[in-house]
């Protein structure tokens, strides 16, 4: 069983939901990332999404775009992101890592070379924002052959037919983009998410993580009640951006926010 499947199964057995932070590898500087990942695990997160910096992050809002720019200014790359995942794995055997990014760095490395490198780094899942299943079969097959889960996005306007397609091609979990917009946008509508989740559940048995627009503990708690996991990204990176002259302060604030989310999600009372 993959590390992701095992994680979601263990959570389901205790009635808990996955807390999934997203940070961009190498933001605000490369040495920040791996210690931050370990600290997030201590704060109670279940899966880590690690962003691969890219020069043209079309589906991201300004906060994550600037995170990419800061990382690229330190010569970050896909290769160095994989190296960070490998370094993290040396002292953490249980927390799944999902690399999230855009296709071009993977194309530049070559699908097979990338799949081999991801396997060596013991990465658990790959989410490529601009690789829909229509174009992604070759890459998905190479990953699956190495026990790496290809993770796909679903959106508010995804049809039942498309949800079934993702269910067939994807594994690990499905990432539901809770709003029409870019990461970090501010208009998440809980009632809409609830309605959509019913359609998702009817068409897939994969766990569903929900992201885009999760800013605070209250939202995390509400969203957790609907899905199997909560993804938080821009809200964490905003802490880095607000404390560029004091990374330790950024780390402290990120841990506080994640701990508050963990606490709220585990005390749902529902």
């Amino acid at each position: 069983m993959s590390r992701l499947a095992a994680t979601f199964e263990a959570l389901a057995q205790t009635g808990r939901k996955a807390l999934i932070p997203f940070i961009t590898a190498g933001d605000p500087y490369p040495e920040f990332t791996v210690p931050m990942m370990h600290a997030m695990v201590e704060a109670g997160v279940d899966v880590i999404e690690l962003g691969i910096p890219f020069s043209d992050p079309m589906a991201d809002g300004p906060v994550i775009q600037r995170a990419s720019e800061r990382a690229l200014a330190h010569k970050m790359s896909l290769r160095r992101t994989l190296a960070m995942a490998m370094e993290f794995r040396r002292s953490n055997r249980h927390t799944p890592i999902v690399l999230m990014g855009y296709l071009n760095p993977i194309e530049a490395m070559g699908y097979e070379a990338f799949a081999n490198a991801a396997q060596r780094a013991e990465v658990d899942g790959i989410l490529t924002v601009d690789l829909p299943p229509e174009e992604g079969e070759e890459c998905a097959a190479l990953l699956k052959a190495r026990d790496i889960d290809p993770i796909f996005l679903l959106a508010p306007n995804s049809s039942s037919e498309r949800i079934q397609k993702m269910d067939a091609v994807g594994s690990g979990y499905l990432y539901y983009v809770s709003l029409k917009g870019v990461t970090g946008a501010g208009h998440l509508n809980i009632a809409d998410v609830k309605t959509k989740l019913e359609q998702l559940r009817a068409n897939t048995r994969l766990p569903v993580a929900i992201g885009f627009g999760v800013k605070d503990a209250d939202t995390a708690k509400t969203i957790a009640a609907l899905g199997d996991g909560v993804v938080v990204g821009s809200a964490l990176i905003s802490k880095i951006e607000a404390n560029l002259d004091s990374p330790e302060q950024a780390k402290k604030e990120i841990i506080e926010l994640l701990a508050a989310m963990r606490h709220a999600m585990d005390n749902n009372g529902a």
Binding site: S55, D56, P57, S77, P132, E134, L153, A155, K180
Partner: protein
């Protein structure tokens, strides 16, 4: 015997290039657009309305002008200019925006967005949006806003909102990123009019089909004027819409050589250029696989060209295919050579070309002397130079 050219396939692939590489939120609207496009492509009412607009609003057909003095001066082939500069709004861009705007209206969209580099596509979009009473937002890199301020003013006059994009390199690619972000946020009521033969399927095929009027007219006009097909076609290539518009109706005519002219900027060897077909590598950006300017890690490299309209790290996927198959030749022209083309046409023929089109003129100056006087070159004069007056004056040290 050769097979008839039928690219792209049903999923928008030109061999390994093209396709639909977009985030999930954009898949439904792209599929909706593709269905609508396939439907109206075969709808006689739609085609009749488009033809009428092209004739009475755009001013088509555009002339095929025999540049006799310039041909004599260069001492080789006869040079014919396809006068897209005489279209309403001053470039070939309007052929496509008229078509896409009619599609937007048929699909019930109330809001139009566009990206623009030199501003020609932005102006052509703002123009059709004004005419149809649609809200219009144009994304333009902050660097381009500064160097093409005349076009910014035109767009504003036409009622469009111009958003200066401050991210990344602040040029065309960043404007495209920002337009995609807008579209993802406002997919329900918004139609994205892409200005070139890039983006996800169906854009490369759709924009080509709207621009192919250039080549269809040129073919008939050339037959009428010379009694035969041309020997060579020359057009500048940024994203490549004016080039594909000219080339496409000639692809099955094997005797016609096709030359796409990329922007070599300060020179290919300096790395400061915008010539992915000449010096780039295949990759994926903005919804399609094509040749890109990217580094070993797959990060997109900043580009450079004197002409904002060619300052883009990618190129339409059909050009990538035509390059790999050898059907078209891709060459490059530096900023300085392009200026030579600009002055030559201005002084020899009394026609001031856009800096983008000046790249095609400069290559024609190299090509024509290698051909015989009984041979014919058609060059796409894709736009007029009015928008570049400030840039040129500044280069000459003149304050306007």
């Amino acid at each position: 015997m050769t097979d008839k050219y039928t690219m792209p396939d049903a999923r928008g692939h030109f061999g390994p290039y093209g396709g639909m590489f977009v985030a999930e939120t954009l898949m439904p609207p792209i599929q909706e657009l593709n269905a609508a496009y396939q439907q109206y492509l075969g709808d006689p009412d739609f085609i009749a309305e488009l033809d009428k607009d092209l004739q009475y609003y755009v001013g088509r057909p555009s002339p095929l002008y025999h540049a006799e003095r310039w041909s004599r001066e260069l001492g080789g082939a006869q040079i014919y200019l396809k006068r897209e500069d005489l279209n309403h709004t001053g470039s070939h861009k309007i052929n496509n925006t008229v078509g896409q705007a009619l599609l937007a209206k048929r699909m019930g969209k109330t809001r139009i967005i566009a990206e623009t580099g030199a501003g020609q596509h932005g102006v052509a979009t703002a123009t059709v949006a004004a005419r149809l009473g649609l809200e219009c937002v144009v994304y333009m890199g902050a660097v381009d806003v500064a160097r093409q301020s005349l076009n910014v003013y035109r767009m504003k006059l036409l009622g469009a909102t111009v958003v200066a994009v401050e991210s990344g390199s602040k040029t065309l690619k960043d404007a495209l990123n920002e337009a995609l972000r807008d579209w993802v946020t406002n997919v329900d009521n918004t139609f994205y009019i892409i200005g070139t033969v890039a983006g996800p399927h169906p854009y490369p095929a759709m924009v080509r089909d709207f621009q192919a009027i250039i080549g269809r007219e040129a073919k008939a006009q050339c037959l009428a004027a010379t009694g035969g097909l041309p020997d060579a076609l020359v057009a500048c290539v940024g994203g490549g819409s004016n080039a594909i518009g000219l080339f496409y109706p000639f692809i099955d005519d094997a005797s016609v050589a096709l030359y796409g002219v990329e922007a070599a900027g300060d020179g290919i060897e300096t790395g400061r250029h915008s010539a992915p077909l000449s010096a780039g590598r295949p990759g994926v950006l903005h919804g399609n696989r094509t040749y890109l300017m990217s580094d070993d890690d797959g990060e997109i490299i900043e580009t450079h060209s004197i002409s904002a309209g060619l300052d883009y790290p990618g190129v339409g996927p059909e050009h990538a295919w035509l390059k790999d198959t050898g059907r078209a030749n891709y060459v490059s022209i530096t900023d300085n050579e392009a200026l030579g083309g600009f002055y030559a046409l201005t002084r020899m023929e009394g026609i001031i070309p856009a800096l983008e089109s000046s790249h095609a003129m400069a290559y024609t100056m190299k090509l024509a002397p290698t051909l015989r006087p009984d041979q014919t070159i058609i060059v796409n004069l894709s736009g007029r130079g009015d928008k570049d007056m400030q840039t040129m004056a500044r280069r000459e040290g003149i304050e306007l």
